[in-house]
Symmetry: C2
């Protein structure tokens, strides 16, 4: 049995709470935050900064990146391991006088969406080997994909995640907007979106690439680019098309 507290009231805190709460191997002693979230009970909740934080083996900080350093101060004097959950924040952002760690689940968390944690990679980091081991045991309770990774590699993985998730979602938005502007139902795009994502589990995106830019079909590229007018969406069309063409250019 590993005892933990969770600091935060947002999506990451909520999803971690729910995942650990159903496990007999983990006890969630407390949730701390600026206001009581809906996901935990009154008894489990304490206001951040109150002096009632129990001694847990691991304190998970599921707060915004810029709040990590400040919130971590609250745990000064605690003997437990304090781990933040950010992809982009260095282990060193935590005060040196704490037992420090990182517990980063690589997923996009949204209110109201159930997630299967078992396939979500959890990237862990700690100053000391026994702390890393503790985080590994904790992560293994909910995930089958636990990876030890230093800050630099985690930040690079997080940047890759920005491309495949944040930026991809924006392309979904742009595609939907084109449909709506033209009186076509954006729902028609959904099977294509799902298949495009499903496919890369089986063949590499390098092989999976199709479309006018892949064929370097200059006539179609020109017509489609012109039809987009002059805004940022046209710049995106031209730039990603150019990037695809460059990717498949024969290297001299």
């Amino acid at each position: 049995m590993i005892s933990i507290t969770i600091t935060g009231t947002g999506n990451v805190a909520s999803h971690l709470y729910k995942a650990f709460k159903v496990s007999p191997q983990v006890e969630v002693l407390q949730v701390q935050g600026r206001e009581k979230p809906g996901f935990c009970t009154e008894d489990e909740f304490a206001f951040l900064g109150s002096d009632t934080i129990p001694d847990a083996e691991v304190h998970l900080l599921a707060v915004s990146d810029r709040a990590i350093a400040t919130v971590a101060q609250v745990f000064t004097g605690k003997t437990g391991l304090v781990a933040h959950t950010s992809g982009n924040t260095a282990l060193d952002a935590l005060p040196k006088d704490l037992r420090r760690g990182v517990f980063y689940p690589l997923q996009s968390f949204t209110t109201g969406r159930e997630l299967d944690f078992t396939t979500i990679p959890i990237c862990i980091e700690a100053d000391r080997a026994n702390d890393l081991n503790l985080l590994k045991r904790l992560a293994s309770v909910i995930s089958g994909e636990v990876v030890s990774m230093d800050t630099q590699h985690r930040q690079e993985l997080h940047l890759a995640a920005v491309f495949v998730s944040n930026f991809t979602n924006h392309l979904y938005y742009l595609g939907e907007r084109l449909c709506i502007q033209n009186g076509v139902s954006p729902k028609l795009l959904l099977p294509l979106i799902q298949e495009t994502a499903a496919k890369v589990a089986h063949i590499s995106p390098m092989e999976a690439q199709t479309g006018p830019a892949r064929r370097n079909d200059k006539a179609t590229l020109e017509i489609q680019s012109r039809s987009l007018g002059k805004g940022t969406i046209k710049e995106i069309y031209d730039l990603i098309s150019r990037s695809i063409i460059e990717t498949y250019e024969p290297k001299l």
Copy 2:
């Protein structure tokens, strides 16, 4: 029973053949092409331009966009409906002396991947109402999502598809490349890719957007952009980040 022929030996031809072949409501009389593909039998195959094309109710042209007009000439004098399968090609690209139509399945077809056609939208178009009706009957055999759409709307939908599929796949490629360059397993990105795609079936991409650009977190944007060096990938990072920021800017 609707009789058809299929012209083409690529992915679209192969997937349409397999989908229709298992239906008792459709008879595939012939596959035409420049060389016999693996997916049909010797008896079913005829070389393109041989004078043995049977009279079918519908001749589906699953050939590259630029070959459509030329290949369609082969069907001069035929009484059946000749329909191309391209998202981006006008109905008018087919010769006027034919009964003309369009049968565009909105999906990304890849060799060796089985597809469930029942959820794939098929966009149909024809000069005449009874021909449109015939295409509707044919499409309904394999798909539950048959949409009548003129050339302009279909081309706009195709352009939206370029954003959510072709461009998205390129972002997967860039994310994978970042991982590989940095010694991180790109497989770690797969659950995130799947969830990002699955999510937009339930909430709009406008609501689903997360990440540094969504928060207009200038410090992170600056650090991540700088870490990408000077190539096209940095331009993509900066441009899509700017587009996301613009999307969520309060409108004055």
